[in-house]
């Protein structure tokens, strides 16, 4: 699928940005030119050779804080996504097979979770369980999981009622075999789309919470935290919010772009579209050669 995604311009852009963000998450703290926690007397300084993005209200290098803050922001988004995936997909598939009782309970639970405002709920849970990203992201992951539940359940339902699955059931195939043999291939593409979308949501949520000072202990840097602290000093550094904003925006945009690309290349229509593009490309190349 990755090859097909990279065949699309939007897919290449999305993967490029997300790869860069992943690199920042892994190597960001090492790339930071200065100690992101070390203050100085040079507060709210403008960009200079020493501080490429200036300094904050305690004289800390903003570039270093953004680089060092990448890991926490990315890990938070990943945690939301994985939590939602695990909590949503498994019951989503099982709700089709485990009888009416389980179906009714899971559907009502999903309805309930959808009705709750997850950001507010995350704030409440961190107040109860302690102010930490894992607690907040655990909560948000559960709140977002109905998306995966519904997507996986819809895909499972469409496959479960197909003649070849019914034939397999009549032939005495186990549910595990049916899921492994017939279901995964059909369920995975929509889940992949939901996964990319949820990663984007995760970035927004983690940035929002850290913007509010929730989920992270100061002075630990995060993208949202850097943005929040910049807003208090707009009269001194009006351009300062640009850097964290662009980072957050580009990452979320890349996630959404990736979701679109996955949607475009998955399924029969996607494969046909890609096939047509490939043929057109070959014809164009042949024309140039001639």
């Amino acid at each position: 699928m990755l090859r097909r995604i990279l065949g699309l311009t939007s897919g290449r852009i999305a993967v490029g940005i997300l790869a860069a963000v992943a690199l920042l998450a892994v190597f960001g703290p090492l790339l930071a030119p200065q100690d992101p926690l070390a203050g100085s007397t040079d507060i709210l300084a403008s960009p200079s050779a020493r501080h490429l993005l200036g300094t904050d209200y305690l004289g800390r290098d903003v570039l270093s804080r953004l680089l060092a803050g990448s890991r926490l922001s990315v890990l938070g988004a990943v945690q939301v996504t994985l939590m939602a995936l695990v909590v949503g997909v498994v019951p989503g598939i099982l709700s089709v097979y485990l009888g009416r009782g389980f179906e009714w309970v899971t559907l009502r639970l999903a309805d309930t979770l959808i009705a709750l405002p997850f950001l507010v709920f995350a704030v409440a849970v961190t107040a109860l369980l302690g102010n930490g990203i894992p607690q907040a992201m655990f909560t948000v992951g559960i709140m977002v999981s109905p998306l995966f539940f519904r997507v996986s359940r819809a895909a499972t339902l469409s496959v479960a009622r197909s003649p070849y699955v019914e034939a397999a059931v009549i032939s005495g195939a186990s549910i595990a075999w049916i899921v492994r043999r017939h279901l995964w291939a059909k369920v995975l593409p929509p889940i992949a789309i939901a996964l990319a979308n949820t990663a984007g949501v995760g970035f927004v949520v983690v940035s929002s919470l850290t913007f509010l000072g929730i989920g992270v202990r100061p002075p630990a840097p995060t993208w949202g935290g850097v943005l929040a602290s910049d807003l208090g000093y707009l009269s001194y550094r009006p351009w300062a919010p640009l850097a964290p904003t662009v980072l957050i925006m580009a990452t979320v945009w890349a996630c959404n772009l990736l979701a679109d690309a996955v949607r475009d290349v998955s399924g029969e229509a996607g494969r046909a579209l890609l096939h047509t593009r490939t043929i057109r490309g070959r014809l164009a190349a042949a024309g140039r050669d001639a």
């Binding site: 203050g39 208090g232 009269s235």
Partner: protein
């Protein structure tokens, strides 16, 4: 050339449609403008003060306590005494007072014909009942301030006799706006209702209170100094985010607001009046010596030497404050010059003290519990971390409960001070002082030094010396490390006349708002 009928008709219809749209748009605009006009002139052109401020959670002064909210409550309540620009006690509801020869009894003489806004008489009995309520009500936040008062009696309708547990010449300062905002005894029969619907005898009376949104007040014609109140209406609005305060005042949404030091520069650039009001503010690092590792005096000393106060002044107050190592700003009568810079910034010495105490760098790990994320907390974390004391900032929105229960090990506090310097000292260093995180710890010699300061008449030539000696004795406390002092900073529109420079308080007599 004739215009075909259909075209003329179409043109006419288009013009008619445009006219209708224009009329509708004009009507909508008029409505919006009318709405704005109604809002701006809701007081019918009367001088109105719009003040953006943190709205009080409690309107009963007994429950609200002697913290900063007394400034808002003073709109609705009048106090027994007031202070002047020099910080001296001057008449309020009481037009005078006399001490007995022994100094353990003071009689306050009330002004005649005072009434509360519910029509009840404000007489000696009302004052007596207020002070007794402040001493005995279960949720009173003032009882700790009134330990000097043994008994309150009345003599006739206008004299309130306050008998003291000890000789104490601070009582007229004590019974000012922070502690003695007198409430209607009739309204106080239902303390829960009074806490949301104030009934006092202040310059204004609350006409509408929507918690978390706004409070409207109208001038009280029966206020004892009503002739000097030139504002007819006050609108309190929940304070906006600090970053938007300047634009809010600049655009006329508010006339007055507290200002963060970071916003002084843009406020001045916007042509607004920035008021640096004198006060008694002082911030500190609160330490619990009853808990490890602060039961070891060397660790406390390490903290004392680790603190670079100038960094607080530069980064928290943006240069508008002063470094202080006492619960008062430098220059105040109780500020003790002899104690100044007793523990200068010396990180090397701090590290050596930690080593002497047997701790390796990073071995001590503490939670710094604060009510909200703050620059000061980050500075403390950084400065203590630099000498090897690991500090993790823990934001607890319910911080006040463990703080005042003395359950925390390390915290931050900023006092707005007290009119009575002795009250400030006992609040910080006394065995049951609310700001003493190490209760019942009290530094040696403090009780005696404070007692002497209490016993010294305010006009005595020994007063300043005895007061400073009490400060010196208090500063031996290992429970507090003072860091910086900052004035109260307000921004006001040019419509509002100058505010009286009463230290730590806001007085409205003489203040005018140009409509």
């Amino acid at each position: 050339m004739t215009i075909p009928e259909t075209i003329r008709k179409g043109t006419t219809m288009t013009i008619a449609r445009r006219t209708r749209w224009a009329a509708a748009l004009g009507a909508a605009l008029a409505l919006v403008l009318a709405g704005c006009a109604t809002d701006a002139g809701s007081s019918g052109g009367a001088p109105t003060l719009r003040w953006a401020v943190a709205l009080p959670a409690h309107w009963d002064p007994v429950v609200s306590g002697s913290g900063a909210q007394f400034r808002i409550l003073s709109l609705a309540y009048a106090s027994l005494t007031e202070i002047d620009e020099a910080g001296k006690a001057v008449p309020g509801l009481a037009q005078g007072w006399d001490y007995n020869a022994a100094g353990d009894e003071v009689t306050f003489h009330l002004r005649p014909n005072l009434t509360f806004t519910d029509g009840e008489p404000l007489d000696a009995e009302a004052v007596k009942r207020y002070l007794e309520r402040a001493k005995t009500q279960q949720n009173s936040a003032l009882f700790g301030d009134l330990t000097s008062i043994k008994e309150v009696t009345t003599r006739g309708e206008l004299d309130v006799v306050v008998r003291l547990t000890q000789v104490d010449y601070q009582i007229p300062l004590l019974l000012g706006q922070r502690v003695a905002q007198i409430t209607s005894p009739k309204a106080a029969q239902d303390p829960a209702k009074l806490d949301q619907s104030p009934v006092g005898a202040g310059p204004f009376v609350v006409t509408e209170n929507v918690p978390g949104s706004h409070v409207y007040l109208a001038k009280n014609p029966d206020y004892w100094n009503a002739a000097n109140v030139h504002i007819d209406r006050v609108e309190l609005h929940a304070a906006p985010d600090a970053a938007t305060v300047v634009s809010s005042v600049q655009t006329g949404v508010y006339d007055l607001a507290y200002l963060e030091p970071t916003q002084v520069k843009p406020a001045k650039a916007a042509g607004l009046d920035v008021v640096f009001q004198p006060g008694f503010n002082a911030s500190n690092i609160s330490i619990n010596v009853n808990k490890k590792p602060f039961d070891n005096p060397k660790i406390v000393d390490a903290v004392r030497y680790a603190v670079n106060r100038q960094e607080f002044v530069d980064k928290v107050t943006f240069g508008y404050g002063k470094a202080t190592d006492q619960p008062f700003p430098p220059g105040y009568i109780a500020y003790d010059e002899q104690s100044a810079n007793r523990y200068p910034y010396d990180p090397e010495r701090a590290r050596a003290l930690l080593a002497e105490a047997g701790y390796a760098p990073g071995q001590i790990k503490l939670d710094l519990v604060v009510p909200a994320q703050s620059t000061a907390a980050e500075i403390v974390e950084s400065q203590l971390g630099a000498v090897g004391i690991g500090v993790a900032i823990k934001v607890d929105p319910n911080w006040s409960t463990p703080f005042f229960a003395k359950d925390l090990t390390l915290s931050l506090y900023g006092t707005t001070g007290r009119e009575s310097p002795v009250q400030t000292l006992t609040a910080h260093f006394g065995p049951n002082g609310p700001l003493n995180l190490s209760t019942p710890y009290e530094p040696d010699g403090f009780a005696e030094a404070v007692s002497l300061a209490r016993r010294t008449p305010l006009e005595s030539p020994d007063y300043a010396r005895n007061l400073q000696a009490a400060t010196r004795a208090g500063l031996a406390s290992r429970a507090l490390v003072f860091t910086y002092s900052q004035p109260n900073i307000l921004v006001k529109s040019t419509k509002l006349s100058a505010l009286p420079a009463i230290p730590g308080q806001l007085h409205w007599a003489g203040v005018k708002v140009t409509p």
